[in-house]
């Protein structure tokens, strides 16, 4: 699936929820589905510190694609991290660099990426893109 197909699929999934409670319950479910990050990556080195919640992010190259692994100490943050991993993981670096992330806005969760939230997610997206730039340059 392309990056945008992933985004569109998520938008489709969220379109059935008409109230915020269902949406957040779904995020809680998603957080449980996110594969556990290897404990050796849950260290200071991979920590993206937000003021409110913490995010751990690790990436590796798998052939020509990047695989991301993420975790958070807050469940809602983890649920959104799961969505970001779903969209970006398994994509080629150039796709990650060049595609716009529009799905969070479309599903009404863009506020979670606002700098004022300080939950680590905005920094996580930046870090995901930096991994892509670094891998792209090293090829």
């Amino acid at each position: 699936m392309t990056l945008n197909e992933q985004q569109d699929e998520i938008i489709e999934e969220f379109s059935v929820f008409d109230d915020w409670m269902d949406k957040y319950n779904y995020l809680i479910d998603l957080s449980k589905d996110l594969p556990d990050i290897d404990p050796k990556y849950k260290t200071q080195k991979y920590l993206i510190e937000g003021c409110q919640s913490k995010v751990w992010l690790f990436a590796e190259m798998d052939n020509d694609k990047i695989k991301y692994y993420a975790d958070s100490d807050a469940i809602i943050t983890k649920g959104i991290a799961a969505l970001l991993v779903r969209v970006l993981s398994g994509q080629k670096p150039e796709n990650i660099m060049n595609n716009e992330l529009y799905f969070l806005d479309k599903i009404g969760l863009q506020q979670n990426l606002s700098p004022t939230r300080s939950n680590g997610l905005l920094a996580m997206v930046k870090q995901m893109k930096l991994y892509a730039i670094a891998y792209n340059a090293s090829r």
Binding site: W20, M21, Y24, C51, Q52, I75, T77
Partner: protein, 406 residues
Amino acid sequence: MSLDIKKIRNDFPILNQQVYKKPLVYFDNGATTQKPQVVIDEEAKIYSQENSNIHRGVHYLSEQLTQRYEDARKVVSEFINSAHDYEVVFTSGTTESINAVAFSFGEKYINEGDEIIISSLEHHANIVPWQMVCDREKAVLKVIPINDKGELLLDEYQKLLSPKTKIVAVNHVSNALGTVNDVKRMIDIAHQKDIPVLIDGAQSIQHSKIDVQELDCDFYVFSGHKIYAPNGIGVLYGKEKWLNDMPPFMTGGEMIKKVTFEKTTFNELPFKFEAGTPNYVAAIGLATAIKYVQKLGLENIAAYEKDLLEYATKKLNTIDGLRIIGTAENKISVISFVLENIHHYDAGMIIDKMGVAVRTGHHCAEPLMDFLNIDGTLRASFSFYNTKEEIDKLYDAILTVKQMFS
């Protein structure tokens, strides 16, 4: 006299609104308070009819507004009962006030090996400026520890005081836990050794009557926006002897007596510490807010807020897995709490969606959170415009959180 809360709520237009289609419950008063219509009107009136730079013009508007600015200083002076009007310096807020004292006092009196005492309960604004002084002057920062309830250990405080101690800087009320510190006693103890004391009043000025002469504090600082006044105005009260002796922390226009390229002589108090154009609009707004609070009566406010605190403490304590952080004997209307196995950020997100505004996180008091061995808390801070019905809504919201994350 009891307060007419319904009438009071009508004085605060912002309270009458819905967020996420739910009536707004504003419990983030520790971060900032809302403004009564009289304060909002005052600012609008100044900008639409009276604005002019102060102390500079000979013209009508300037003269009128200069007078109002100085009248505002008198209102603040009477409110905190300072011995002289000129001991009240207008700043941008508590943070600037503390930085000003740390810089000026540090320059003049603090040298290598000297000691500065703060407490474990401090906000970053009363930690970092002193750390900077310590770095600059090679001085040492000493920290008063607390007990499990979040109360300062005064015996330990006494032990920390030494011939090297140059100043004690503590908050009157902890922003994160609501603990009211016995600053009167702490000041007496320090003064026995001729050590001056700065009181961070950011969380006390709006909750109880402050009398700086009775406290005998050397400095008392607070922010306007936490006492129903506009943003961008604060107060640095300092005893005349200190303010006269300390060098200015900021220089520029209005704070000088005479400037030549060889030498500058500084203006007298309080102007020596008010370089540049002050926020005279907000200063006048602060005076209006103080008069509003005085009309309600600080005793009435304190009694009503105590009632809210007791009600909320009792109600929240019935929730399984909820632990109140900060259980001092003497507290203002702040409840910090954690929920077992639920991250404060998750809880805060859901509580927000229920229309209730609380603060989550470390409350700019990271060392305190480290000491308590927690990442952060949820904090509900009440004001006189809040009600028990609103506390019930917070209670319901917490139950929803528990249900969602169980």
